[in-house]
């Protein structure tokens, strides 16, 4: 087994084990708690009641008159507090007047203001650079794939060129994954520092598609196998 094949095989096994055992390839970032002087604004419940009918386990039917109200969550971009705006509305059913409730937001969908004057220009230009880089890599990779397919169609499978091309494709797929990982991590960290929610933590989750990395490493392994095949073919071809 040649040296490169050993290295790629070990790398493949390590990535799979790390992926299964840890959460290294998925990351969560939690923002700091919102400032105490900021308040979560809650609107008053609307007038009127909505009748709700409940059926208990023993078959008894009870009619309640409950009011429902919704509260509005305002997200304040940390660097631009003057640009506070409504980003989400959540309904809280079964509320009763003059009662104190603990509101637990399990899941809130936030629309992040991405205009430059609100969030800064960093996500835009950073995303553009990494997006362009990824596009260049993808186009280059497609050219190499087409080149490789054309050689294979001619019957030239176990040749050094095919092995080299597969190696290049493998490295490119791994590079795409790494670019995606760096972009996600950087943008997430940036948003954490720029978006706060009064009285709450925000958890940003990001998971990059690990299949790019695994497929890339698998292609590296295959390229070495093709190289071994080339040597075996030469032995046969150069036997008289």
């Amino acid at each position: 087994m040649n040296k490169k094949l050993k290295i790629y095989s070990v790398l493949f096994v390590v990535v799979i084990i790390v992926m299964l055992v840890t959460s290294v390839f998925k990351f969560e970032k939690t923002s700091a708690l919102g400032f105490s002087e900021e308040k979560l604004e809650v609107t008053n419940p609307p007038a009127g009641f909505t009748p709700i009918i409940d059926t208990l386990g023993n078959g008894t039917v009870i009619t309640h008159n409950r009011s429902t109200f919704s509260y509005e969550v305002n997200v304040v971009p940390r660097k631009h507090p003057e640009n506070k705006e409504l980003v989400s509305t959540v309904r809280f059913p079964a509320a009763v007047s003059n009662q104190t409730y603990l509101v637990k937001m399990q899941k809130v969908k936030l629309e992040v203001p991405t205009e430059e004057n609100k969030i800064g220009s960093f996500p835009m230009w950073f995303g553009s650079i990494t997006g362009s880089l990824t596009l260049v890599v993808i186009v280059w990779m497609l050219c190499i794939v087409l080149q490789t397919i054309s050689r294979i169609r001619k019957g030239e499978i176990f040749v050094a060129d095919v092995s080299r091309n597969l190696e290049k494709i493998g490295f490119m797929l791994s590079a795409i994954y790494l670019i995606e990982l760096i972009t996600s991590y950087t943008i997430t960290k940036y948003f954490i520092n720029h978006i706060i929610l009064a009285g709450h933590y925000i958890v940003f989750k990001n998971e990059c598609n690990i299949m790019f990395l695994l497929t890339g490493i698998a292609l590296l392994i295959i390229s070495q196998i093709i190289l071994m095949g080339k040597d075996l073919k030469e032995d046969v071809d150069l036997t008289v």
Partner: protein, 72 residues
């Protein structure tokens, strides 16, 4: 590779052309050329047998071992 093929020397001694020898031993001229220049990886015994019959010689007349690495 440390094995030297002296086929062209033997061919000159027996005054036989590449084309004639290739036809007699049943290989292509291209393969015979590779054999003469020492670019082949292996030789079958059947081919060696055919060469020795065609040139009326011993395997040692065609193949020579020269150690490339000096003895330490």
């Amino acid at each position: 590779m440390s094995i030297i093929v002296n086929l062209d020397v033997m061919m000159a001694k027996r005054k036989i052309s590449s084309q004639a020898l290739a036809e007699q031993i049943g290989i292509t001229q291209a393969n015979l050329s590779l054999l003469k220049t020492g670019k082949v990886r292996a030789v079958r015994f059947s081919t060696l047998d055919a060469i020795c019959k065609a040139l009326d010689c011993q395997p040692g007349d065609i193949l020579e071992f020269k150690d490339d690495e000096p003895i330490e």
